[in-house]
């Protein structure tokens, strides 16, 4: 194994890892927004919204994320959507992650004992007040761990945007293989950096989960 080479290219990989992190953060934010909207749609009392929420989830979980990215990035211009690769990556992955998060958030909300909603409504709280003061604060605590799993998946999924030439970790590894012919070292280096990102994120999620638990 060529350690010397690994050390030499390491700074460039760090830069690429930074892109992966930014991509992950933006994707997670967009995913959370889409997931929250999706969950509210699925829990709505309006059948149309429930249908749209369910359709969103089944379409985006039912097709490969790579195909979704390709449609957006390569197919987009045909229907008037012009995005650069990074934008397409964030939007494509964010909407995809949102579909998974929809189910996570909805699952947490419906797992709250119905006696909680009843107690709140009995006091005279409206549906929204009951949701906002009683259900969501409890559901949010339950969501931390499963959303952490979504986050883990999402970080790994950012590797897919290498296929639309976003210069993140995986793409960078591929590019250096082209000039060094050392795929083992280059992919290993990328893998180690992914692992560090995911490990730190996982610890963060575990910390947050502990912090929000009710005494």
């Amino acid at each position: 194994m060529d350690f010397e080479l690994m050390l030499k290219v390491y700074p460039f990989f760090l830069e690429a890892a930074w892109i992966t992190i930014v991509l992950s953060v933006l994707t997670a934010i967009l995913g959370l927004i889409c997931g929250t909207l999706g969950a509210f749609a699925r829990l709505s009392r309006f059948a149309v919204l429930r249908f749209l929420g369910a359709a969103y989830v089944s379409v985006f979980r039912g097709t490969p994320a790579l195909i979704q990215l390709f449609i957006l990035y390569f197919g987009g211009p045909q229907i008037g959507i012009q995005l650069d690769a990074f934008e397409a990556g964030v939007i494509g992955l964010g909407i995809n992650a949102g579909a998974y998060m929809t189910e996570t958030i909805r699952g947490a909300v419906i797992s709250i004992d119905k006696g909680q909603r009843e107690a709140a409504r009995t006091l005279g709280l409206s549906q929204w007040q009951a949701m906002y003061k009683v259900i969501l604060p409890q559901a949010a605590r339950l969501m931390v761990r499963p959303l952490g799993v979504n986050l883990n998946m999402l970080i790994k999924a950012t590797a897919l945007v290498a296929a639309i030439s976003v210069v993140e970790l995986t793409y960078t590894a591929q590019r250096y293989i082209g000039s060094t012919y050392k795929p083992f070292e280059m992919f290993l280096l990328a893998g180690i950096l992914y692992m560090i990102i995911i490990y730190v994120t996982g610890r963060g999620v575990a910390w947050l989960d502990r912090k929000v638990q009710i005494t």
């Binding site: 004992d113 006696g115 909680q116 009843e118 107690a119 709140a120 409504r121 009995t122 006091l123 005279g124 709280l125 409206s126 549906q127 007040q129 003061k133 009683v134 604060p137 409890q138 605590r141 009710i214 005494t215």
Partner: protein
């Protein structure tokens, strides 16, 4: 009282869950300050009747009136929401399993609804929570979370939470059924205190002795109908209906 209606008036209540008819033409009136007990075997419809009073389980037929206002009105969604939230603020409800909000302290459990619905200040809310929790003997645990309280303590906080909205009527659905026997009395004491203060109450219970000692009137329900009703000294000692006698006999046996 408006057009001859009692304080609480249920007329021809009918309720079905799908094909299952749970309430069959029940009528009931309760005067201000009266305490009515409801007894009956499991599945007879006691909870359903109680929950119909604040429209938690809406009736499929019949009327519920509270203080001259029809509770179960048919209105467009938003108008109904506004109306029912108004009505529910006047009716306190206590559940078998307490249903305290686990993410809030006793203080927050009690003061949350008044803050949200009556727009009271933080200081007023604190004073209110302290007064209500003192009333149920829970002042020293005011900043505890429900998970740090015993069942009896939880139920007393739940009663304080309901009382903080200053309801005209209190509904109790087996408030002591989930408690260890040694914790029942502390909750019963709080209910007795409310009785002394002439709170109007409808109490679903399996505790005949308690019902006999606090209720002005007791209803025996079976299979969705009120089989018999009367003052406790008559209903418990000399019931006229065979079904009532049978129920009381079985109950006495199982209590042994």
């Amino acid at each position: 009282m408006t057009d001859g209606k009692s304080f609480v008036e249920i007329r021809h209540a009918q309720k079905s869950f799908g094909k299952l008819e749970v309430l069959k033409d029940i009528s009931l009136s309760v005067d201000r300050g009266q305490i009515v007990g409801i007894i009956g075997s499991s599945g007879s419809g006691k909870s359903t009747l109680l929950r119909a009073i604040n429209d938690l389980d809406p009736l499929t037929g019949g009327e519920v009136w509270l203080d001259g206002v029809r509770v179960n009105q048919t209105l467009p969604h938003r108008a109904y929401e506004k109306h029912i939230n108004q009505m529910r603020q006047q009716v306190g409800m206590v559940f078998q399993h307490f249903n305290l909000f686990p993410h809030m302290t006793a203080r927050e459990n009690v003061s949350m609804a008044p803050i949200m619905l009556k727009g009271i200040s933080k200081d007023e809310a604190n004073a209110l929570a302290e007064a209500q929790l003192d009333h149920v003997g829970m002042l020293e645990r005011i900043d505890y979370y429900p998970s740090q309280l015993s069942g009896g303590q939880k139920q007393r906080v739940a009663i304080a939470r309901a009382l903080a909205m200053q309801p005209k009527l209190m509904l109790f659905d087996e408030a002591t059924s989930a408690l260890d026997p040694e914790l029942v009395e502390e909750v019963n004491q709080v209910m007795r205190k409310l009785a002394e203060q002439h709170m109007t109450m409808i109490i679903v219970t399996h505790e005949m002795d308690f019902a006999a000692s606090v209720c002005d009137r007791v209803l025996f329900m079976d299979q969705g109908v009120v089989v018999e009703e009367g003052p406790p000294e008559i209903l418990f000692k000399t019931p006229s209906q065979p079904r009532t006698r049978e129920f009381l006999r079985k109950h006495l046996e199982s209590a042994k």
